[in-house]
């Protein structure tokens, strides 16, 4: 029998929910039916007003917190979700899901295409952030949640939260956007394209139909992850963590990895290459590239955000250069221009973009304070317990 830390949600299990109402997608195609892999923590209150949606980032999924049977490592945001943690499961009903196109149990490229009897592979429709938000709204309907107490996300997850506030203004009271951006820069897209090229040029990719070949484009995925990982760390952070430390302590005058940073990246890349699906990676990076909620509103983010009814909390990290504080400030400036309620904190940290997953004390204090405000805004039960 295993025991879990007191502030952990403990042993958890996901559930697969089936949806058969067709979902029209931005690309023009329709998903006739689909599956969402979902995990929840805490209890939904009587009037379903304490639900919080956690949107995941590029390689995330539904397993946000707690432990699976036999696992030593908890979910990806266990530092922030649990009893007494900033997203307090004693107060909130917390919902995590794997987005469509993912590779962790929701419908995606690995699913069998009923038309062919083969996995969709590259024929799975390209998903956009608005498509995901639509599917998440269907999930809210299924769970009986009319209005989220908050929609929360970091990075690509923050973009989903932002999209929620514009697309379904009346369906969330608070929107928490962490280490995110209102759209990708040319540099961001460039890094994504390097990752995509690494994958699609791998001979094992077979134009995306590698499942049938019993093959996996491991080299491509590894390179994609390595380049991605560099953008998640900061120069300072890498210097602090690796410096120029050498594994053998001296130069070996060959092309094997000698510096600690080289073997670290290779290790990260290799681990990722067996755990993540290449088609999903391509799809998720495209969703990032395409995200631009202002586009429909004359390229003016403030106009887009005028629709919002939620209150906003925006957080950025000083050494994040993937989605730098300037990018968060663009969101804040647009919110101020749109006369929306917003708080903004810029947390000092050496950890780069990765900081949003790390329980940095000031980050957690600020986050906790705002989550308390969200808890205070939960309407008192009208149905009431007698």
């Amino acid at each position: 029998m295993s025991t879990y830390p007191e502030d952990s949600v403990g042993l958890v299990a996901p559930q697969q929910l089936e949806f058969d109402t067709p979902l029209e997608l931005a690309c023009g195609r329709t998903l006739e039916r689909y599956t969402l892999m979902v995990e929840t923590y805490g209890e939904l209150n009587a009037d379903a007003s304490n639900a919080v949606l956690i949107c995941h980032a590029l390689t995330g999924h539904h397993h946000v917190a707690g432990f699976y049977e036999g696992d030593r490592k908890p979910g990806w945001w266990d530092s922030a979700v649990g009893p007494g943690k900033p997203i307090d499961t004693n107060k909130f009903f917390v919902v995590g899901l794997n987005n469509l196109g993912g590779c962790h149990g929701s419908s995606g490229p690995q699913e069998i295409n009923p038309a062919t009897g083969e996995p969709f592979g590259p024929d799975f429709p390209l998903m956009t952030v608005p498509d995901w938000v639509e599917s998440q709204a269907r999930l809210a309907d299924r769970l009986g949640v009319q209005q989220w107490a908050a929609v929360i996300g970091g990075s690509l997850g923050g973009m989903q939260a932002l999209e929620w506030s514009i697309r379904f203004p009346e369906r969330l009271r608070h929107c928490v956007v962490i280490a995110s951006a209102p759209k990708l820069s040319a540099q961001n897209i460039a890094f994504n394209e390097v990752a995509r090229q690494a994958i699609s040029k791998d001979p094992a990719f077979h134009d995306g139909h590698y499942y049938a070949q019993g093959d996996v484009p491991k080299t491509g995925l590894m390179l994609a992850r390595m380049v991605g990982h560099i953008t998640y760390l900061s120069d300072d952070g890498m210097r602090e963590k690796f410096g120029r430390e050498m594994k053998a302590g001296k130069l070996s005058f060959d092309f094997n990895p000698q510096f600690e940073v080289e073997s670290y990246l290779q290790y990260q890349g290799e681990r990722f290459s067996t755990a993540f699906d290449a088609n999903t990676y391509l799809l998720m990076t495209k969703a990032l590239d395409y995200f631009d909620p202002a586009a429909e509103y004359g390229d003016d983010l403030a106009t887009a955000l005028q629709r919002a009814q939620a209150k906003f909390m925006i957080i950025s990290f000083s050494t994040d250069w993937r989605f730098s504080p300037e990018r968060s400030r663009e969101i804040v400036d647009a919110l101020v221009k749109a006369d929306q309620s917003v708080c903004y904190a810029e947390v000092d940290s050496p950890q780069g973009h990765d900081a949003f997953l790390i329980p940095i004390p000031r980050y957690m204090d600020t986050f906790r304070a705002y989550m308390q405000r969200i808890a205070d805004d939960i309407p008192r039960s009208t149905t009431g317990d007698v």
Binding site: D333, V336, C343, Y344, D365
Partner: protein, 196 residues
């Protein structure tokens, strides 16, 4: 509520849009939101103050005022307030210009370095004044640009700034007949309402 804030809040019209530069723990904004239906934001860079604002439900934006307010549009606020922060600005004149650009009206409060106690401290001890109200020594003080009421009013003349109201209080933030009689000597805190 802090007494200078008590005076300021009377100068703020209900249902207006306010920007509070260096908003501290958000006391003024919370009061005005609750009692005068004012909307707005506080700008602050002290972490504990930011957390305090969030706890109070005050909109607070982390920002270093010295790094500029350029992202805020012209005339986008009815009132821009800055209490007890002018003297820590890198360029107070430029900050005031920015405030007047963003706001239709501005309210500024600052400590008067021409107060008799400060003058006496320097005159008789030959040391930079240190008091309960200004507790720092010269090398660690955040207050890098002290001025007197006269200095401030001279700046207003030079820059074509109109003074709409002016009041001076002692360090208990009380008005009294003698501070009004000889403000530059007897007033400790100046509160100005200005426009351009």
């Amino acid at each position: 509520m802090r007494a200078d804030l008590e005076i300021i809040q009377e100068w703020i019209q209900p249902h207006t849009r306010l920007l509070d530069l260096g908003c501290g723990d958000g006391e003024l904004l919370r009061h005005l939101t609750e009692h005068r239906q004012v909307t707005g934001y506080g700008i602050e860079n002290d972490h504990d103050n930011i957390t305090a604002c969030i706890r109070k439900g005050v909109n607070v934006i982390e920002k270093d005022i010295d790094e500029g307010l350029a992202s805020i549009e012209d005339n986008s606020f009815d009132t821009v307030v800055m209490t007890q922060a002018l003297q820590v600005m890198h360029r107070p004149d430029q900050t005031i210009d920015e405030m007047l650009r963003i706001g239709k009206e501005c309210i500024v409060t600052f400590p008067n370095f021409g107060h008799w106690r400060a003058r006496g401290y320097l005159a008789f001890r030959g040391l930079m004044p240190v008091s309960k109200f200004l507790p720092y020594t010269w090398y660690d003080t955040p207050n890098i640009h002290f001025c007197t009421f006269k200095d401030f009013e001279r700046l207003c003349v030079e820059r074509n700034i109109d003074i709409l109201n002016r009041t001076v209080v002692d360090n208990a933030h009380q008005h009294s007949w003698w501070t009004n009689l000889w403000p530059n000597m007897l007033g400790e805190i100046a509160i100005y309402r200005i426009t351009r």
